[in-house]
């Protein structure tokens, strides 16, 4: 008949720790008494995962029907232009984003991100073919590459579970600032042939101005505690 030295409650003879305060239990008669079956059953019933196949089928049917309807509509509405390809491309992109993860849940995060970026690239390429011009290779692809590098880096950094919420927010804000810089760099290069830093520097400055106080709060325990109290975190 063991008791918790911390809580004072009586414990089960088979208990190795107090369930209330996790204080280890030691009792000399352990060998004899733990032969009893545990008070609660120990077999865990496997919870069947929610069937995502049906959901994937439904989403696929919806996307396919949207593309098909637009194809039919295209025969009557502006038949000279293949505008239905925009819808079909968007449907393919949405399918890769949302339905593919439902069907193949074992794809690692980097694999899913690669697929997502690839889907956006394909969609933009289809649009560039329809509209003509060289904007895909000189503007869209570089910006997409910057976005991909930044998203990969951010997801890699945020995977560390020890990272605090404040650090996570600061990293996300910093990534957004760098992305703005990248957009302006490639847009200027494409439109004017030269980079003339302008609005993206304002965005980046605002991001830095937000990051600095977050880092200060993160580094100073007293400020961090105060922020936790204020926001009831």
């Amino acid at each position: 008949m063991p008791y918790c030295v911390n809580c004072g409650v009586e414990l089960s003879a088979a208990a190795s720790v107090c369930p209330l305060c996790h204080t280890p239990v030691w009792h000399p008669a352990e060998a004899e008494e733990t032969a009893q079956p545990p008070f609660f059953p120990t077999n865990r019933e496997e919870v069947r995962p929610v069937s995502k196949r049906a959901l994937a089928l439904l989403a696929s049917a919806m996307l396919a029907s949207a593309a098909l309807c637009c194809r039919i509509l295209n025969f009557f509405l502006r038949p000279g232009q293949d505008w239905w390809l925009y819808v079909a491309g968007a449907a393919v992109m949405l399918w890769i984003w949302f339905v593919a993860p439902l069907l193949a849940r074992r794809i690692p995060l980097w694999g899913r991100l690669t697929l997502d970026v690839f889907a956006v690239g394909i969609y933009l390429f289809v649009i560039s073919l329809a509209t003509g011009g060289d904007w895909f290779f000189h503007l869209a692809l570089p910006i997409l590459s910057v976005a991909a590098v930044l998203v990969f880096s951010l997801s890699f950094l945020l995977r560390d579970r020890r990272r605090s919420r404040l650090s996570g927010i600061a990293l996300t804000i910093g990534t957004a600032g760098l992305f703005a810089l990248g957009i302006e760099f490639f847009a200027d290069r494409y439109l004017f042939g030269d980079w003339k830093p302008g609005w993206s520097l304002v965005v980046l400055t605002i991001c830095i101005a937000l990051i600095i106080p977050l880092r200060v709060v993160r580094r100073m325990p007293s400020l961090r505690d105060e922020a936790r109290r204020r926001f009831h975190m």
């Binding site: 409650v9 009586e10 414990l11 089960s12 369930p19 209330l20 077999n43 019933e45 009831h232």
Partner: protein, 429 residues
Amino acid sequence: MGAERIPWYKLDNAGALYSALQREEYSAIYRFSAVMTEPVVPEALQRAIDRCMPRFPGFAVRIRRGLFWYYLEPNRAPGPFLKKDIADPCQPVRFHEDNGWLVRFYYYEHRISLEVFHALADGAGALVFFRSLLAAYLRELGHDIPCGRAAGILDPEQPPRIEEMEDAYARYAGGPSARGMYPPRAYQNTGTPESYYTFRVTMGFMPLDQLREKAHARGASITEYLCAVLMQVILQKQHRERPHRELPVALAIPINLRAFFPTDTLRNFIATIRPCVDPSLGEYTFDEILAQVRYFMKLHANRQELRTAFTRNVRFTTAPLLKIIPVFLKNPLIAVNYRLMGTRPYSGTYTNPGVFSVPDAMRPHIHHMEVILGQATIPRVHCSSISYGNILEVTFAGVQAETDTEREFFRFLIREGIPVKVESNRPGA
């Protein structure tokens, strides 16, 4: 020959709520367990289940989704079948699994457990079913157990009575309904959720006579006393967290309306009252909290106020506008309403079905009783208690990793001089 007409039952307003809210992260399931003095004989228990189910048509149902509301219809599928007990009880109900059964039966060593979806019945109704089942089980083992409505044991050989299926809310609702804004937000007492689906149960067993003595010495009933202990523990927990502004601590206490409005229904017939202590007004001693709880319950647990409370709920489900909204749109509306009315204003739930009384012939075969409430909509503990003989059992159940609430609760009772034995399904316990 036309097709056989399948009868159907309308859900009462509590049933409509629980059906609309049911999802994988919330379990409107509760469990009663009887720990017998002898190991359970599963074959005899399955026979007892088979005999009892036709006598309780309110439990032998499946739920169907209509265009505007869920409804119940008799379940003619095989079962329900007795299963070996599992480590994480009160798993959420899935309407299309387990042949559509909304009641579950488990056994483990000496323990017989019944799990019921709250849309079917409240604790009082389920206890009549459970008591009758235990009597039928003991009869299967050769014991002579008498039946009798006064003892709460219904004869499985008799046909069911229509009064047992009555929607007592609809019968007694009327007059003015409770009006006003949503109750103010209370401290939420949430913790860190465990991985899906891990359900942590911690039970404390204590001598009823000693607890009653302590409660009576302070002029309170056991329910009021335990409710006050829980409120004090939650108040202290909030204080330790040093929030910018301390929120009120309020508990949801279900009241069995059968004591106020006579009915033989086995379906839901409860209303909730909300004793509350506001720490922003100043510090409260335990005796002051107990006085708040005691006087609140005496003041507000009366026919008139309870009727206005459940009349509002009945009118909510019978509102013409709400009636014509399809169920898939209605469910989110009900969920938001429940969040504002049923979750946000409360710090936790405490329910005490009271004494589990059985005839003398059954008494030697039952060691103690247990009760568990299913997973809340947010990661916090539900507290419940039940007594049998001289053992009172208090359960804390939830999906959160922390044990602060139950630890301080049982430590308080220890400090009061009441011995407590603790059992838990947490690792190592």
